[in-house]
Symmetry: C2
Subunit: 331 residues, 2 copies
DNA sequence: CCTGCCTACGTTACCGGTAAACCTGACAGA
DNA sequence: TCTGTCAGGTTTACCGGTAACGTAGGCAGG
């Protein structure tokens, strides 16, 4: 990268400050000067140096950091998409990272990213290391916590309640006459948000006097196979379940495949419910009962909340983006 | 962010250069000085400023940019994951962007990112705007083109041949006795890599004397619904097909759902083949015939090729990561 | 004792922008 | 004619690091 403002300034016969103003679209120069400077910049193949700009202008960078649990998650891919579309339209660049459901990994990532002095950060989840929270408060940069709602965010929060999702599904299944429910999860207890859904589910069932009969928490990544084997394991331990709630839709579909292979009729013999609202869930031979999460909307709202804060516009600290329970034909 | 090297230097009674050396783990200071500096840095809550470091050290940044067609693609989510794991382990940070299958959007993104003076870039696809190529050559930074292999990369290439994927599937289906093949695609012609698979497929069929009977290129995003409606449309135009090749597995599964709903027996009445190797494809009632793409391996190889180049290690310019056709029960 | 070399630092210049202050000529109004 | 204002610039300082180079003191070898 060769040409800088100085080079353009010399070639155009002006000072580099004038070049800076022209190229950033400011004022204080004649039309003639503007055209000349632009032409020279173009001919020299000038590429602005955001490193120097952000550094010189006292860290007014256009970088935004975002940390998700896993990059292979379809739902987070959609959130990422929502964030990226909103941010790139507004001239920001997105640095990403994955924390693998570990707050320690999240903290390591945050330390790396904060040292780039980003304009703001988007984190997923409401659970963080104390050191992470201290660091972010001290840094004083806008932070949006997404996915799991919290009433006392570090700064801002956009999402919904996982506990409520679980409770709502529990109540729905009870209304459908289910009385002996099981649960199949993944990632053991590392995924606190999946755990929150289980907590809500369990509480709703217990309150109605039909407590959760059995649950199976796999160590695996949530996926089709995990759902399949999870249901197999659960049923090998406890035969007389009448419905199973899964960690997410992928796993529920895996469960559905297992039931079909074993001749278990769904929903007659066994109800199946998922969570997340993946597209495939609505195209199966039997539409999956699930909770649809407005992923892209969450991403968009998070990005917009961040940018509003950066521009000093008053925005609300907590944005609730409601999920929608979609009764299907499986439970 | 308050404390900088100067503050630490004053508090520790040394020069800021010594602080810099200590904190970066260099040499040229006593154990006593090291301990004192570290303690002061810790107590002041010092957070390094990579902006200043990258700028001062003549743009030796640890940022790597990566541009994918769509962030909502499951396959690219896996590639991203492979890249992120490899890079974060080596101390790099990942800036991402989506080009929506448009080389113009890609160029706009590249211009933004290059102005951050990243250590390197990862692009998807071999097709770029001339201006993009010029810019990258001039910038002289390492560039890895992934996904679609090219023998004349801008710099390096990691991937496989989409044309060969299509041809291989065509040959496989011919060996299985299929003679009247159709194709269902998406994104119209915007996705040049999907188009390349179709080209290879078409050529293989033509060469064997059983040319492609019909194809349906939707404008939609590739997904389950697109596959479902695509097959419906294709069959409404051309009844007597004996196999349909889909843009990817999601669409093939959508097609499978359509066939099932209409009582079309798979594979007896109609064969169905996909591409990509998504996990769900192997768990369906009938295992999908598809091409498995080693997504994570591609991401990892791309990141490692990039870092090898940065370290001046001799690496090969073109890395072939072979795909694997997996005959299933659907074609 | 002098020289050379090593350790453990300190000093200075510089990266490429941006903000803020300063400058200058032309022109208007009193 | 003098003064004020404005357009259209220029100059200077600075952001927080890093590289390159300078240097004081101690110690060994000849």
């Amino acid at each position: 990268m060769k040409a800088n403002l100085e080079d353009i300034a010399k070639a155009a016969g002006v000072s580099k400050m004038t070049v800076s103003r022209v190229l950033r679209g400011g004022t204080g120069f004649s039309d003639d000067t503007r055209d000349r400077v632009r032409k020279v910049a173009e001919s020299l193949g000038y590429v602005p140096n955001k490193l120097a700009a952000a550094f010189g202008a006292d860290q007014a960078s256009t970088l935004v950091g975002m940390c998700v649990p896993r990059l292979t998650s379809g739902l987070f891919g959609q959130v990422l998409d929502g964030v990226d579309r909103a941010l790139s339209r507004l001239g920001y660049q997105l640095i990403i990272g994955a924390n693998n459901h570990s707050t320690e990994e999240e903290e390591a990532w945050v330390r790396q990213i904060v040292s780039w002095r980003p304009a703001g950060l988007i984190l997923s989840g409401r659970t963080h290391q104390p050191g992470t929270v201290d660091l972010l408060r001290q840094a004083g940069m806008p932070v949006v916590e997404i996915w799991d709602l919290t009433t006392s965010p570090i700064d801002m929060s956009v999402g919904f309640s996982h506990v409520d999702c679980g409770a709502e599904m529990g109540q729905h299944l009870l209304r459908r006459g289910r009385r002996r429910a099981g649960y199949v999860g993944a990632l053991a207890r590392a995924d606190v948000m999946g755990q929150a859904r289980l907590d809500g589910f369990r509480a709703a069932l217990a309150e109605a006097g039909h407590p959760l009969v059995a649950s199976e928490l796999l160590l695996d990544m949530p996926g089709f196979y995990a759902g399949l084997y999870g249901l197999e394991t659960l049923l090998s331990r406890t035969r007389d379940l009448d419905v199973v709630y899964f960690h997410n839709d992928e796993m529920a579909i895996g469960g559905l495949a297992y039931a079909q292979a074993r001749g278990i009729r769904v929903p007659e013999d066994l109800g199946i419910a998922g969570w997340g609202g993946m597209e495939a869930a609505s195209i199966l031979p039997r539409r999956l009962t699930t909770t649809v999460v407005p992923t892209t909307a969450i991403g968009k709202a998070a990005a917009e909340a961040l940018v509003a804060r950066l521009k000093g516009e008053p925005g609300q600290d907590v944005t609730v983006v409601p999920t929608r329970l979609v009764p299907g034909e499986t439970g």
